[in-house]
Symmetry: C2
Subunit: 343 residues, 2 copies
DNA sequence: AATTGAAGCTAAAAGGATTTATCAAAAATA
DNA sequence: TATTTTTGATAAATCCTTTTAGCTTCAATT
């Protein structure tokens, strides 16, 4: 088995020419390096015939570029991240890059360790949803000339590329919608206890909308351990029990909404009739659920596109000068039954 | 920026010894190669101090192993595959392997192209959900000594490792359940038009259960283009309209069920009261839906575990001889409201 | 005839590791 | 004392490319 791969050396030997010549031809430098057209054709034909492909490993070693991008997210099995993974995949392959994924679980130590292992693998770039406490590590990456793009959340202290969405504005608008179209007078905002920028921005948008009005509001932050131990539902249930005056709920992300929906159904609360609901991060099921749940959709394709555009820009050797892009994309509120006046 | 990485050469020079010695010590061969304890300690201390890590690229080139496993699935954004991705990730990293993912969309050409690109990247192994028409490509991989494990579906013609689940038995049991506990007399089986082994096995199990009884049944295969173009829901709706006598439905996979649920809700069919429902591939949402949907859960953790076990076995150099494992795991039927007698 | 220039191709270094074969000095044996 | 063994370390080949610097040969110029 395992017949050993043919190398550029074998080709040179077979044709009785030098390795250098073959390499030049392979890299399309035949003209530039004045290799005769005749020889060029002959070599190309031979390469074609035996189906030779250069070793990426050797190329990487020589060139110091591995053509690998790391996609480091909080949890690759999460629908949002998996969808982005799917979308960046094609663009990466089209540009000759491969993608290695990994999940941090939002744990700084894990993220740092992963980054360290990848660095010694000579990867070229990182697409990252940063965990807390990651500034110095990311600064190091940038310092070493690696391509970095943050997404979903970002780090205010660091000047680098990122792709995020208009969290504050969208949360503001969705809250306004709950008030104006939904007629809510007492809204609960359910979020996670964490300092992730995207969550803080959503909260900020909510507060802005609610504070300018005569609407009452309550903020509930689900404890981190509750999410980890899948007790979020119970925790949210307790919250609802002790706040039965609420006539509107804003979930800061879809997995909280899922837990919340379960809690509401257990309490026999009638969504839409008794309580309006809207969630950040649209999901297939929001359409399927009865009643359908209003939600803010992030522009996945656009995010993926911008992510790749941004990282490829940094990886592009020919391009010099400032390469950082800071992109904030608009979302789209899907108004469904859960936040409309019931008839 | 980008201060160049220190190499083993630098270490040798700094300590005034040879590269060979450093390499031996790095690889824990100091004793075997009779390097004095004194020197060994000195070198180790220095390595520790400057935080040197060997270049994986150079190692890979030299050793012909890249420590990379390809995870090639139908669609990485699919919840099932993304979950497996998440689970194998840790085990891979723990064993020094990295995982590159890619999606085939079940297209043979795409799969072949991807495999070709990865081969020239010197990856060590493949975890694959095979598309149709992939026998020869996979045989080539095996022939070249690469580690291969198929999962989800397999290729009967090829003798190699795979990890699948008891599709037929579980489908049989779930159908029996519909008949016996659900009291169904006329069951529809909704599946995709495809020859994927797992789908055929599920159908087989269904037929076996239904043919031994006096229960009527109808098979409906959603056309491939309908799924691709997101017209599955419409197509299923039509099916339901033309088969309004059905009192039970078996969905061969969860995404068909989601579409089917939408169709049923549009038809105002009361699940549980008028029609029992069960689906293959359990999903978080089945618990959340009202009524909760009965479903067959695949043992994700176990699948992931066996996948890694099986591929690591093949990658293990020390182990020789037969290395193929053919594993079939049992599923678990979660009986929920949708298939129970309504009270 | 001597010099210059271009055309066409190649030797060899570099990139960072592993490993085989070898060597010098010290210790053990005859 | 002469010979063999052991100890401790290393030079150099190898993995497969890319790329710099250089080497012929032949034609053109002075």
């Amino acid at each position: 088995m395992a017949k050993k791969k043919t190398s550029i050396k074998d080709i040179a030997k077979a044709l009785g020419i030098s390795i250098t010549t073959v390499s030049f031809i392979l890299n399309g430098k035949a003209r530039e390096k004045r290799i005769s057209e005749e020889l060029t054709k002959k070599v190309e034909a031979y390469i074609q015939q035996i189906g030779y492909k250069p070793s990426h490993l050797a190329q990487s070693l020589r060139l110091g570029k591995s053509k690998v991008i790391v996609f480091m997210v909080e949890d690759i099995s999460n629908n949002f991240f998996a969808s982005i993974a799917r979308l960046i995949e094609e663009k990466a392959y089209k540009n000759g890059y491969k993608i290695i994924y990994c999940s941090t679980d939002n744990q700084p130590e894990k993220a740092k360790e992963l980054i360290a292992t990848f660095k010694m693998r000579n990867v070229d770039g990182f697409i990252i949803t940063p965990t807390p406490d990651l500034e110095s590590t990311i600064l190091e990456l940038l310092d070493e000339g690696l391509a970095v793009v943050l997404f979903d959340r970002w780090i205010p202290e660091i000047d680098c590329s990122y792709v995020v969405v208009e969290n504050e504005i969208s949360a503001f608008e969705a809250t306004k919608h709950l008030i104006q179209q939904g007629g809510c007078k007492n809204i609960g905002f359910i979020t996670v206890e964490s300092n992730q920028t995207q969550m803080l921005e959503r909260l900020k948008g909510f507060l802005k909308a609610v504070e300018g009005s005569d609407v009452e509001h309550t903020i509930f932050k689900v404890k981190f351990h509750a999410i980890a131990e899948q007790e979020a539902s119970k925790s949210i249930l307790e919250f609802f029990k002790s706040h039965d005056k609420l006539d509107g709920i804003f979930f800061s992300t879809n997995y909280l909404a899922f837990e919340g929906l379960q809690a509401l159904s257990r309490l026999k609360k009638k969504i839409q009739k008794e309580i309006k609901v809207v969630s950040f991060d649209d999901h297939y099921f929001f359409n399927l659920y009865q009643p359908q749940i209003s939600a803010i959709e992030q522009p996945l394709e656009l995010i993926a596109e911008k992510l790749m555009e941004s990282i490829l820009l940094q990886l592009d050797e020919s391009n010099q000068g400032r390469k950082f892009q800071q992109i904030t994309l608009p979302n789209m509120l899907h108004v469904r039954q859960s936040s409309e006046i019931s008839d």
